[in-house]
Symmetry: C2
Subunit: 157 residues, 2 copies
DNA sequence: ATTTCTGCAAACGATTTGCACAGGG
DNA sequence: CCCTGTGCAAATCGTTTGCAGAAAT
């Protein structure tokens, strides 16, 4: 994982008077061991590979810290659980396309969108704070070939 | 409420072999007595003004029917509960701006967005199915005047 | 009659939290 | 030492569901 991210987190913890613990280290290590999106439960599994003593509660308590620190983005797609995006720092302006077939989440950026959204907010009398585009879509690949080679997070509930 | 909507619902129920009951009538009447967005709990309260015997379970069981019938739109903003939009038939392509201060949901349409989203999906190899723009924003009014005259759904949890 | 509906209350499931102990500063 | 962090298990809360009786066709 990126040492700068780890450093940033430690500074944040210090600033807040919070401590560096083995569990938090394991969770941080796990959280940035991938560029994929994951759930709290996914992260628990990943963190336990580093430190088996990590509990679910600690994961749930650590996630908001990483979000507040700005290194992780929380995303609620109206699915059953929230997703977290460790790739946020590198691509702060991305949007998400969610495949309803395979649950794959694809990131994309588009310069037009940002302008458009800022315009719209201004027109309505608001100042945009978080702009999210969610596109639910179906794989062309699946429709044409009958199967889908993408990451399949489905099956859960 | 619009008689055409009611008619459309009755046809849907008939087609599905479902029955017309006093409770469903009350819920339908309540569901289209406003153009505002509401939650399941809001709808329960509204329906009980028409028929006090309506239960929460029946509301929760009826909502998906109205959604499937196409007269109501379900929206999950990643808040604590889902919202329902009875205004969907008249404005099927609208997007939502949610004020983080007062929880007001403002609808807007924009022709550019639709084109943009279809392009993006195609570029990524998907066929867009549901396109949602969510803008979280802050009232300019609140910031400037220190108060907000908009509908305030806040306070819950 | 037969089938769908209903209200009730219990179940559900992701997330949060109270508590008593562990461990970092 | 003191105060924060932790695991555990119980609580939370919108929503769903099993069941037995009620109502529609």
């Amino acid at each position: 994982m990126d040492a700068a991210v780890r450093e940033r987190i430690y500074e944040f913890l210090a600033k807040e008077g919070l401590r560096r613990t083995t569990q938090r280290d394991a969770i941080i290590g796990a959280a940035f061991s991938t560029t994929e999106h994951y759930t709290a439960e996914d992260l628990l599994v990943m963190a336990r590979k580093i430190d088996p003593t990590v509990s679910r509660a600690t994961v749930y308590r650590t996630l908001p810290l990483l979000v507040e620190c700005g290194v992780l983005k929380e995303m609620d797609f109206g699915r059953d659980f929230k997703f977290y995006d460790p790739n946020y720092l590198e691509h702060p302006n991305h949007n998400h396309l969610i495949c309803v077939d395979c649950n794959k989440i694809v990131e994309f950026e588009d310069v037009h969108i940002d302008t458009l959204e800022t315009c719209i907010s201004k027109r309505l009398g608001f100042t945009a704070e978080k702009k999210t585009i969610r596109i639910e879509a179906r794989c062309d690949e699946l429709r044409e070939k009958g199967s889908c080679t993408r990451n399949n997070r489905g099956g859960r509930r």
